[in-house]
Symmetry: C2
Subunit: 285 residues, 2 copies
């Protein structure tokens, strides 16, 4: 008969002994990756509990929070991903899964508003439809490798907010791919297109995660940014975002997506705003 | 403008810098208990992620697991409490909130099957109705303080499984308080009552937590036990369980409720089984 799950009353600390009983049970029962995950989860979950010593009322509040977070999820809303985002977990997992050598463009998260199948455009096209207001910008640059050599035929899949702070994926009233599009670099690795300067927007604040942010004194704004997903044969796919350097939420992104190297400056020209930016991709492993 | 949430690309480790950005944001925004909880949660959640380095697919599996756990909850089923129970968190919080001096009866969790308002019985009564099978047992003893002095007028609120492995709270077909009852000690601190030997049973296995236990090679059995909630004027309320020493699941309780000091032996007598057990209560603080 296994005895691992029993708690020995004679232990110096009854609390430590609870944790040890769980670890022994996992060690005796679980295998492979599940064993590794459960041992680590137990140590960190119990470590958190021992550190903050929740009252029984606080623990029930946590149970209710998690339950409401699950209840809030449907086909259009994933409140647990939002929780992961606002706790920085999503960006941490992105960093772990996208380690890049020095000089490569850093990654940021895909986010919930990416849609596959955006229209393909020639370089020089305008991604905004005629009704779209906002500040017109030219974005141009090269896609290169770590040695600075041009990557020809790289595809840039682009998406961003409209001036009303909605993504095309959110806005049932408009063009389902407004301000979205795919560009392809020529032999010189160059790309260029027109769009509108992106604006700041809020992540959903009407659910349990919004209530958590409020209770923690945090807002639910994301600083303005444009999303890019770059793919090229022989290279690692690069998912990233470029953040506008004059945004008031740049230092307090609700989902921690901002990396210093991804903050860019739009230059005023006689022909409107202009952003020059090169992307550095890494070879596929 | 706060800069705390930005991730500095020049940091030695981009992953550590994600964690530091979240901690800085909480430090600058949150106050009091919420600040303390969020800082500790961030450190331990990120510590878990850094230790196991989940793939993006694994993280999405975790998101799906939590979502399904929330969806499984309704008025009769609380899958997040079951998750807390099966990860040992409930017992750890019970231990933290019920620290007792040496010699006091140890606590165990209340569980989901306690019902207020069980009938009051005189000592010597049988808590089982006439239709209840199983092995008849006499349970008797004293309720005393740390000095061994009798506590008169202590109330013992008792509940347990029937021989069919159901609690009265689960069994819509039977007496809604079968095998439940309240006893009160006399001037000598003594109590005694008849019941049936409790049996092992399973916690719900048809939801996401059941799937997690299976994936971890764990079963969902609880060893046989009787629940007691003791209250007496001037003393801390004591919630505990007494576990049957010949139960095959004593060493592998799915919810880690077993403490060595709570394991008891039923003695065979000419008049059926008998258990003698004293409870030691602590003065209210």
């Amino acid at each position: 008969m296994p005895k691992s799950a029993r708690i020995d009353a004679s232990a110096a600390s009854a609390e430590d002994e609870v944790t040890r009983a769980v670890l022994r049970r996992v060690e005796e029962s679980s295998e492979g990756r599940m064993r590794e995950l459960m041992l680590s989860l137990t140590r960190h979950l119990h470590g958190f509990i021992r550190e903050v010593e929740p009252s029984e009322a606080e623990w029930m509040a946590a149970i209710r929070f998690l339950t409401e977070t699950g209840k809030k999820c449907d086909e259009r809303r994933q409140e647990f991903i939002l929780l992961s985002d606002t706790l920085g977990a999503t960006m941490l997992i992105d960093a772990i899964n996208n380690r890049k050598p020095e000089g490569a463009t850093e990654s940021s998260v895909l986010g919930p508003f990416y849609q596959e199948g955006a229209p393909a455009y020639d370089n020089g096209a305008d991604l905004a439809d005629a009704a779209t207001g906002g500040e017109r910008v030219l974005i141009a640059g090269r896609v290169i490798d770590l040695d600075g050599a041009a990557i020809a035929g790289a595809e840039l899949d682009v998406w961003q907010t409209a001036p009303d702070a909605l993504y095309a994926a959110q806005d049932a009233s408009g063009d389902s791919f407004n301000l979205c599009g795919r560009l392809t670099t020529g032999a010189d690795g160059r790309y260029w297109f027109y769009t509108r300067k992106p604006v700041s927007y809020t992540v959903p604040g009407d659910g349990p995660v919004g209530a958590m942010l409020s209770a923690a004194g945090r807002h639910n704004w994301r600083p303005a940014h444009i999303h890019f997903k770059l793919s090229a044969s022989g290279y690692e796919t690069l998912v990233t975002q470029l953040f506008t350097d004059d945004d008031p939420y740049l230092g307090s992104d609700a989902v921690f997506g901002v990396k210093d190297s991804l903050v860019v400056h739009y230059v005023a020209t006689d022909d409107g705003l202009r952003l020059d930016h090169d992307f550095v991709m890494t070879a596929a492993s």
